[in-house]
Assembly symmetry: C4
Homo-oligomer: 279 residues x 4
């Protein structure tokens, strides 16, 4: 993972420390400044997309965008200059993200269709995670992602079953309701089925015939039982993770035999069950 | 279950192995080819139902459909020819599914109304499960379905109670809102009630009167408590299944006293707590 | 509970047995016939409310309704005649329900507004529960209702907190969105808030201003956390009930000391921990 | 917390007791009267906001409002007069709430825009909590709020992750659907994403393109898994709180050996398992 040149000296070593290390004061400052720049640039992208705001402050947004782009470009050049193996960085995941974060602004001068183009810059958000990862303040997040990982297979099986159910019910609804009631094709029907089963229920498409409404009712009530499944899976995994953590804490806190150093499970034992030493 | 002719020879034995066995290389290849054919045929059915695509590539779809139908027909004939008791196969669940998967294409030549007719072919999806069952890769699915089976009675009771509640509330809303506000009949009112209680909320029918909105609010908040019940049932079943599995793993892994064969719970015991035999 | 006349003879004793007892063959038959009559009558009420069906088969529905009403009237008269204390029955919960089940049909001759009137007959559904209660096949339902009862206080506290939150947020949305965006009054705003927080989301009222949409987003994400609370309460209660039941089963199945009859918790104990008798 | 003047005499001491203490009969009466006044005033505010009711009974509402305002003003003056350190009270949280509860009515005479102004009075609801807190009947609420507090960090992490996902998906949908399909800007797109992910689904904005509907389907199914996470967190916390409480109850109820004071787990033991003392 570490890409640090071993016998690096002078400004390259200094900048490497600032950019890649989060524990030194300068490294921390760099991270914070970069985080603010990214979030500020994201805010600008979001506000720019609102027509009324853009019409009013369009020039300011262009200026702000160029300032951020120049900052990110300098950062990108510094990263390339400082790492031992520039090619490795450039084609790494974050290297490509860094490049894609600045390219659209430059390309927008040459190419038209800037509107769609500019939104691509929002992948800058992904760069936030690199900084957060560095300062590793995501302790609790690990437990959650572990619980989700542990239930990975179960959730996949569940989603496959749901997809099959949705396919069959979508086709049935397409037959029952037909094109004249908004179920214009099987894909649209399947989309409606997902909207219904997940209890989102936009209402842009809704069954009109009595039979269609009856089938929809069955789907909804089935969806009731079905929504319970992923919740059940994740809940029992989190409970298990909590239990494991509690057990580990207990293990760490319970006393050990001073003679043989074996952990003693019974908190009120008088003799070590391993070597018979009186406690 | 096995339908294999005992003293079968020649091409029938060879084909039986290919079609019905999943462990041999040829059997595996057959399963994979069939799986691809089914999924491809389903994709064709789905895309065909989209009007704009059908208008453009209608002829190609007809061709593709005939290719798949011929493949499935050959497969059907082979299955009938190869099994010991063809009648048993023909009237079995999958035998009927296999037939229904190919019939619509042939009938569409004779009969009109092809549009509705063709969608019936989507029962081909069910044939996917036979293949998946054969290769039995659904290990984790068993646990989920067991958890759901174990909570079968509770969920039935729950659904009966919900149905009664929905019936009463549907009638009340029909009286309160009346036909002029979209609650045109008691069945429609019940349908609205299910849509509300399951938190789907299409919005095609929505209470307009103040009293109706008050009752709807009560229904929604009740629905809040009610949605918790199936989740609770399934969650505790999954937690129980996890527990049982963990217990079984523990049982399988803990050692037994070689002298008295008693299971030893403490994994680090030096002496059998039953007979004192040193382990 | 039992209302049986002690020294009842002749036809009254016979009919009492038929009507009030569920264990005798005749009692069972009576229950089943009554159950069918109630459900059939409910089906008629539901179908009758559909305008197109009523316009077609109106006369048949009136006939069917009169048949059911006569049956229920006879049953009511029989019940009054047979019980020891008729006044007690007439003013009991089910006595009033029984009367309200037949009255509307008679009153509809005299009074107009039959349409609304007739729907009141759907309280006949409640009579179903008396029959179900008698045959007491609702074993599993008890556990569910116990779990809900045990979490009664927690759920009440939860609903009070939700009501307060909904009141404050409803008022805020009324101020932010105003009458022109569909939030015509504070009650309507509160109704919208409940619709949003319970994730029903009809869409008949939806925030239009940017600030309103931001507040709505916060409400929805809060609703996410909030929906977890009743689920968590009910789930942990059901898990507890399952645990208690499992513990009881364990207690019932574990062996007892043959000398002192004390239950022995340790399944592999060699001596009774109570009296020292060797097992 | 207690703000009681130590050497207070005469009417100030009497009124202090009435206003600030909940255990004396007069204190209780004061709390109940105040609670009714607050709730009545809130009801008036709610009903007043309904246009048709206001047009009919406007004068009555103004009268009622002035009565409540005079009551609350007298209460405010009393509180200021009675506490030892009036400045401390006036700038305390509840002091400001008390003032804001009465100010709007007075200001409405001078200023226009009364409509929006009046709704601010609904912060009177917050005053209810002071009374409820005093009579401390919120025992069960503590457990719930503790369970939520314990899962604070996990839920924050969860919401941050959801916000990032919502930002990325919102931008993608803005690009895919575009302004012509209702996704007029990135903020609106993000709003739509939150509406979808939380399964509220108003339907005021809904994807129209096939690609948009496909992405929306993925978002909904992801939302399925995602909604399970807070539920899982809260459920396992509540289960843990229940467990802790049960353990404490067990600890409180099981007896201790009178000789060595060791807690005895087996409720039916005849001899202390630690020192052999007969119980």
């Amino acid at each position: 993972m570490t890409n640090r040149p071993e016998n690096m000296t002078g400004w390259r070593a200094r900048w490497y420390e600032i950019i890649f290390e989060a524990d030194t004061p300068k490294g921390k400052l760099f991270d914070v400044v970069l985080l603010i720049a990214i979030l500020g640039s994201l805010l600008a992208i979001v506000l720019e997309s609102v027509e009324s705001i853009y019409n009013k402050y369009g020039t300011i947004f262009q200026m702000v965008e160029w300032i951020f782009t120049v900052i990110f470009t300098l950062e990108y050049i510094l990263r390339v200059a400082v790492v031992r193996n520039p090619r490795y960085y450039i084609f790494s995941f974050y290297g490509i993200i860094d490049l894609l974060s600045i390219l659209p602004t430059y390309l927008a001068i040459v190419l038209s269709g800037a509107h769609y183009f500019m939104a691509i810059r929002s992948i800058r958000l992904i760069r936030v995670f690199r900084i957060l990862k560095m300062v590793r303040f995501l302790g609790e997040a690990n437990m959650l992602s572990n619980a989700l990982k542990a239930s990975r297979i179960k959730i996949t099986v569940f989603i496959v079953v749901v997809m099959c159910a949705v396919f069959i019910m979508g086709t049935v609804m397409y037959l029952v309701e037909g094109r004249e009631n908004g179920f214009t094709s099987i894909p649209v029907s399947i989309y409606w089925c997902i909207v219904t089963l997940t209890t989102v229920g936009y209402g842009d498409i809704a069954p009109q015939t009595t039979l269609g409404q009856m089938i929809a009712s069955v789907i909804m009530i089935l969806g009731y039982g079905i929504i319970a499944v992923p919740t059940g899976i994740v809940t029992s995994e989190i409970a298990r993770a909590n239990q494991t953590k509690a057990d580990e804490n207990k293990k760490l806190h319970h006393h050990r035999c001073p003679a043989c150093n074996k952990g003693i499970i019974d908190p009120e034992a008088n003799f070590c069950p391993n070597c018979g030493n009186q406690l």
